[in-house]
Amino acid sequence: MEWVGSPKINQLWWDSSLWGRELKLNTCERSHLYCARVKISLTAVYSGTVRTYQDNMQFMLLFSRQGKLRLQKWYVALSDTQKKKISREVIQMVLARKPKMCSFLEWRDLKIVYKRYASLYFCCAVEDQENELITLEIIHRYVELLDKYFGSVCELDIIFNFEKAYYILDEFILGGEAQETSKKIVLKAIEQADMLQEEAEAPRSVLEEIGLT
């Protein structure tokens, strides 16, 4: 078993009174993202579960076959440099996969679930305990929403209307969890929001312009 981490973890390992107990590790910083294998090693020793209290979905990335990012939604607090580094790594890893391989990758202590739709890769990073198949369904649902909204969506739609892609995503997923399981309701909400936006942007009447109303 490889031990990577602080001496504190080593001490926990030698304290046999802890064996069999559920162990909670507090991670106030996102250093758990970089503390590889601690969680897995401890799970092997302790028969309980080890939770490090991450959000379920850490981030979602959309990128092209050339590795250009088309959308990035982060549900964890990281600096810009960290986000860039992580994106680069994940994109490289996913692009290196061959066509018929399975949609799941293990990376650090997260699972990367990805699927390619035409020229775009949709990629989510979820916590280790998450049900990967339902994450695939979530990705598929998002693609369906985009498809319905744009009418046979293609990559260019997402490039030129990136803010709309974000709005649709935010209407479907909130804080890393799916908020609405009905396609119809999500699309209706976006329609209404778009109408509100149009009204807000509508040119003011001449009278309003010169301040008479």
Binding site: S6, P7, K8, N10, Q11, W14, S47, R51, D55, L69, L71, Q72, K73, Y75, A77, L78, S79, D80, K84, K98, K100, M101, C102, F104, L105, E106, N131, E132, L133, I134, L136, E137, I138, H140, R141, I159, F160, F162, E163, Y167, D170, E171, L174, G175, E177, A178, Q179, E180, T181, S182, K183, I185, A189, Q192, A193, L196, Q197, E199, A200, E201
Partner: protein, 694 residues
């Protein structure tokens, strides 16, 4: 390009740039224009400018000057400006930045806005990037929204509450009553959020667990309705009614039923029903079935149900879809300890997955195969694992090698098989094994005294065929040095005889010494072996002497030191050489990855020369160490800091004098500080290998 160009036009121009430099130029001009526009507080194109900036940010360019603009736009009264402002806040601000606090007030106001879409923006932003302070401030608002609002807002408020509980677990108490009442909602979105909230509350606080166990019947009923209801177009996915909600409920049931008989009983029927009736031809159905299986295995379910679950996993294992095979192995891994025999039935399929093309599937199959190794199947499993090792992807090699070593150590049917297996691994993947392998193997060989002849012959043959794998080279050198006389005798029962002359052996060792592929450690081993052979061979002592004296001026300090010491043995202490060169290396294992190599000398001497070499993986500060039961004289250690990663060693020489050689025991206590923490370790040696003493 005019500064008021619209977003789409800007995107077009950027994409039209032919080089990176051109793109940078375009973006710099645009950003300058946007910055100027922000400063002007021109109310017309503010949202468009921010949108442009966000696009630029997504391409990877800095956009921090847009942060204050986001704050301003969020406070605007126009919905279009709020919308892009909040999006900008989620993209450009995060909880670590101070600017995020400035939007707390706007969010608070917007949470009570008359338009539900504005409320929605605020809720979304809070759930995405709300810091602990923001959460604390706004928690009462969220709680209010959980109780009195329409379902559109309630579902979002529930997920906001989830975020708040994740950030500040103590606030969970605030949401517990509302969470309970949300379960009676009909709206799927609200139910989904409620179930997630309850799951989060239960995982954080065992008291909540007790309370929400009372809701198990209610949850079971909701689930039943979903499963048995007719076709509902709104929530149907590939024949499954709202798989997202089903999976969530199953997960909550898992947490509630864990370690609790009553709750587990209450959900038994439901789980059996779902497990039997769910159509798993598409991913949605498989997802529900998968979650069901996980729940069955984790609660106190009846044995019949468990068998059903393992059978489902077995079926998944044979599925054509790689994803399904992968998740099947993941779940089998979780239950391999508790339901070992059930999983053993599928061993054949799992071992076949070792040959799959996909690295993820291979990894899962490796983990599972290692867990399935037992005394009964060790020989056949090891064949497969060794085959796997020779073809596996590089990132899995070291894990596979250490797994094989562990399995071999636990279940080796014979010592010879054990040694053969380790040698096989060293030949195939010697570069990926851990450093402890060398001393472990040496210890193993030392203990298997009947096999010394066989081992030294085998290692000699491995050495002359290839000296790339350093761990193999080191063990081979040590072995030849130690048992060289057996090698030269030529006969060995278990291996085809091969005539080996003293020159051959010395040639082999010198090749290692001179090769540029050999690491300093390997060279050290080779030199020591050559020196040891000086007492075991008769004709070529002069050759050894000349080799040793050449290395007396070697650049490598470690090697030079050894050569000089050995040279001294030749010159001044020739009469003692025979005695001191009958070495025996005793390798001791400490915890915390440090290793103590005890090199003992002497046959029939009064004062024993003891050299203790530390080789550690961490930075270790050596304070002192204590030897009991002997009169000792400790010389100063060669250093007091051992660099990390095996980059160096510290040698401390101790002279012992005692009379009762046969009963020498040694206890070594090592006190050190690693990365700032003081540690102690102790090892006792009760008996020393007999060749050391006469």
């Amino acid at each position: 390009m005019s500064p008021s160009v619209c977003l789409q036009e800007m995107i077009r121009v950027i994409r039209g740039a032919r080089t990176q430099g051109e793109e940078r130029g375009v973006i710099q001009r645009e950003c300058a224009a946007i910055r100027a526009q922000f400063r002007q507080a021109d109310s017309g194109g503010r949202s468009h400018n921010l949108a442009k900036l966000l696009y630029v940010h997504m391409l990877g360019y800095p956009a921090h000057f847009g942060q204050m603009e986001c704050v301003r736009l969020i406070a605007s009264s126009k919905y279009s400006e709020k919308r892009i402002g909040y999006l900008g806040a989620m993209m450009l601000l995060d909880e670590k930045q101070d600017a995020s606090l400035l939007i707390t007030n706007s969010i608070k106001n917007d949470l009570s806005h008359s338009s539900q879409h504005v409320q929605s923006l605020a809720l979304c932003t809070l759930a995405c990037m709300g810091s602990a302070e923001m959460c604390r401030d706004l928690a009462p608002e969220i709680e209010r929204l959980l109780k009195a609002s329409n379902s559109y807002i309630k579902k979002k408020a529930a997920l906001c509450a989830v975020h708040i509980v994740r950030k500040i677990p103590e606030l969970g108490e605030m949401f517990t009553p509302s969470a309970h009442s949300l379960l009676s909602e009909k709206n799927h979105g609200v139910l989904h959020g409620a179930v997630i909230l309850i799951t989060e509350l239960c995982e954080r606080n065992p008291d909540n667990l007790k309370q929400f166990r009372k809701s198990v019947p209610e949850l079971v009923q909701i689930m039943k309705n979903l499963v048995t209801s007719g076709y509902s177009p709104e929530h149907n996915v590939a024949g499954i009614s709202d798989p997202f909600l089903q999976v969530r409920i199953l997960r909550l049931l898992r947490i509630l039923g864990r370690n609790n008989d009553a709750a587990s009983d209450a959900m038994n029927d439901l789980l059996a029903q779902v497990a039997t009736n769910t159509d798993s031809s598409k991913t949605a159905g498989s997802a529900v079935l998968y979650e069901t299986v996980l729940t069955i295995m984790d609660i106190r379910s009846e044995s019949g149900l468990r068998v059903l679950a393992v059978n489902i996993l077995g079926r998944f294992l044979l599925n054509n879809d790689r994803n399904i095979r992968y998740i099947s192995m993941t779940s089998l891994q979780k239950i391999v300890q508790t339901d070992h025999t059930a999983v053993q039935r599928h061993r054949g399929t799992i071992v076949d997955c070792l040959k799959d093309q996909d690295a993820s599937v291979k990894r899962r199959a490796l983990e599972l195969s290692l867990a399935l190794v037992s005394a009964a199947n060790i020989r056949s499993m090891m064949k497969e694992l060794l085959l796997f090792l020779s073809t596996c992807p590089p990132e899995l090699r070291s894990h596979a090698a250490s797994g094989i070593f562990n399995a071999a150590e636990r279940y080796a049917p014979s010592q010879r098989w054990h040694i053969d297996t380790i040698l096989h691994v060293l030949v195939t993947a010697g570069g990926d094994v851990r450093d402890e392998t060398v001393p472990n193997l040496i210890q193993l060989i030392t203990a298997a005294s009947e096999l010394h002849c066989y081992t030294v012959h085998k290692l000699y043959r491995a050495l002359i065929s290839d000296i790339v794998q350093q761990s193999l080279v080191q063990v081979a050198c040590w072995c030849i040095g130690e048992y060289g006389d057996l090698l030269l005798k030529g006969e060995c029962e278990e291996i085809t005889p091969m005539q080996v002359t003293e020159d051959d052996v010395l040639d082999a060792l010198e090749t290692v010494l001179q090769s540029h592929m050999s690491t300093p450690t390997s060279r050290g081993f080779a030199l020591t072996a050559i020196m040891k052979l000086s007492t075991r061979i008769t004709n070529n002592v002069d050759r050894i002497r000349s080799v040793v004296s050449i290395y007396g001026s070697c650049i490598d300090v470690e090697l030079q030191q050894r050569a000089v010491e050995y040279n001294a043995l030749f010159k001044k202490y020739d009469h003692m050489r025979y005695f001191t060169m009958s070495y025996c290396t005793v390798i001791l294992e400490f915890g915390c990855r440090s290793r103590l190599s005890l090199v003992l000398g002497g046959r029939g001497l009064k004062a024993e020369h003891v050299s203790i070499i530390f080789d550690c993986k961490d930075n270790v500060y050596l304070y002192w160490f204590l030897l009991q039961s002997v009169q000792l004289q400790m010389k100063a250690p060669s250093g007091d800091l051992i660099p990390a990663q095996g980059c160096g060693t510290v040698t401390q020489t101790v002279l012992l004098s005692y009379t009762n050689k046969a009963n020498l025991k040694m206890r070594v206590r090592l006190s050190y500080s690693s990365q700032g923490t003081a540690c102690q370790d102790m090892v006792q040696i009760d008996s020393f290998p007999s060749p050391a003493w006469s």
